[in-house]
């Protein structure tokens, strides 16, 4: 069931190409604005600015892309899922699918950043690992919050309000790890942050798994 749900997500995504390309364009627009602004004065972008811009761009495009996982769904569709799949399967498939989506977005963002702005990252494999871990955290918390926001009025505003405080823990760790990587410190200095990130991910995923059935029942 889990596999067919994940496959369904991919088929849907590929069928509605406008959504994927919309998010891609959104990310590109953010990065291009940064590029235009900072190209006015060469060399004015230091490591801290780079990391702030990078995480802002990723955060906003990720919130926008994951938000639609429940908010865009029609009412009848969730009733149909209810009859054919268990709640745990639904949330797990969403989390796995959104993790991949976030990872793709972050990697594309990283490539665009190094293309247009600069690439201060000194240890690419470690940075990719950081991106993977943050993608898991983002997708676990945002999938649940998107399910909550979908049930309420003005869901798009609510999505941003509810997700920001929950994501801070993940973001803080990611920013610290990025700082270490950008500064070219030893790998071992970032292990603390990465294990913390892993622990936070475990908490968030487990909670999303446990709590989702309660939201879904309504």
């Amino acid at each position: 069931m889990l596999l067919s749900l994940i496959r369904k997500e991919f088929t849907l995504e590929l069928r509605r190409r406008s959504v994927v390309s919309g998010i891609g364009l959104y990310l590109f627009a953010i990065i291009f604005i940064c590029y235009l602004t900072f190209s006015l004065r060469r060399g004015s972008i230091n490591e801290a600015t780079w990391s702030a811009l990078f995480w802002l761009a990723i955060l906003f495009s990720v919130i926008n892309s994951v938000a639609k996982s429940f908010i865009g769904e029609k009412r009848g569709l969730s009733i149909y899922y209810y009859t054919v799949a268990s709640a745990q399967d639904v949330i797990l498939s969403k989390i796995i699918y959104n993790t991949l989506l976030c990872l793709v977005l972050s990697v594309v963002g990283f490539i665009l950043f190094s293309l247009f702005i600069s690439n201060p990252v000194q240890d690419t494999p470690l940075f990719l690992l950081t991106l993977l871990l943050t993608s898991i955290g983002f997708s676990a918390s945002l999938s649940l919050i998107s399910a909550i926001a979908a049930k309420a009025n003005n869901s798009n505003v609510l999505m941003a309000v509810l997700s920001f405080p929950v994501l801070i823990a993940v973001l803080l760790m990611a920013i610290r790890a990025t700082k270490n990587i950008v500064d070219g410190l030893e790998r071992s200095t970032s292990y603390d942050e990465l294990t913390n990130l892993l622990a936070i991910n475990c908490i968030l995923t487990a909670l999303a798994y446990i709590l989702f059935p309660y939201i879904w029942r309504s």
Binding site: S141, L144, V161, L162, P165, V166, L172, N196, L204
Partner: protein
């Protein structure tokens, strides 16, 4: 809440105000007399954490067996908790102005406290934006549990990993081994208990108001139909 507990709460808080301002405190550089803020600032955070935890407990109970009463309790304890949070921020900012020289410093604990307050403000925004009562109770219970779990690493674990101006983190000793001398303990522990009891008392009043409002709405509905 039992009447004797209310009396204990009042006595303890009055005692904290009198003894906290009059009893002797250790003479320390920079801190000077502001050390007395320990009796007001720190109990706010203890009280806030305890009230949020009680709110979490009621949210979990709500999900296991949904009754309106449990939702009222969860929301009332969160309301009092956020008031304690604001008071903690306020007293902390005053103290920081005198001890560290600025109302707001980039201390990890301050950021954690600000984010925790944001979490619970978001909780009330969520409660405000769902019309259906049952839906509102369930969604806010889920968010309460989720947000509480996200808050724990922020205020308890992360500040301890990095250096902080607060005692008890980044190589600074915790205030047990710090110079919380025996005379200060005589005021500090009663302060923690007293402020918590006052918070609990206010929450019970709030729960009764919510229940009465619910009853009034029902009577209104019955009259009009």
């Amino acid at each position: 809440m039992k009447t004797w507990l209310k009396i204990v709460a009042v006595v303890l808080v009055v005692y904290v105000h009198v003894a906290g301002l009059l009893l002797g405190v250790p003479r320390l550089n920079i801190l000077n007399e502001t050390i007395r803020n320990l009796y007001f600032h720190v109990p706010m955070w203890f009280g806030m954490t305890a009230l949020y935890s009680i709110s979490l407990y009621h949210s979990v109970r709500y999900l296991r067996n949904p009754t309106l009463d449990r939702d009222h309790k969860a929301s009332a304890f969160a309301t009092t908790g956020i008031v304690f949070g604001f008071l903690g921020l306020g007293t902390g900012m005053l103290w920081a102005k005198f001890a560290w020289g600025a109302f707001w410093t980039g201390d990890p604990k301050l950021n954690g406290a600000a984010i925790t307050t944001l979490v619970y403000l978001a909780y009330f925004v969520l409660r405000g934006s769902v019309d259906n009562q049952e839906q509102r109770s369930r969604l806010s219970a889920v968010y309460n549990i989720f947000a509480y779990a996200a808050m724990i690493p922020l205020i308890f674990i992360l500040p301890r990993l990095s250096s902080s101006l607060h005692p008890g983190s980044g190589g600074n000793p915790g205030f047990n081994t710090y110079d919380l001398d025996s005379q200060m303990r005589l005021v500090f522990y009663p302060a923690v208990i007293g402020w918590f009891l006052v918070g609990y008392w206010i929450s019970t009043l709030r729960i009764r108001i919510l229940a009465l409002e619910e009853k009034m709405a029902e009577l209104d509905y019955a009259k009009h139909s």
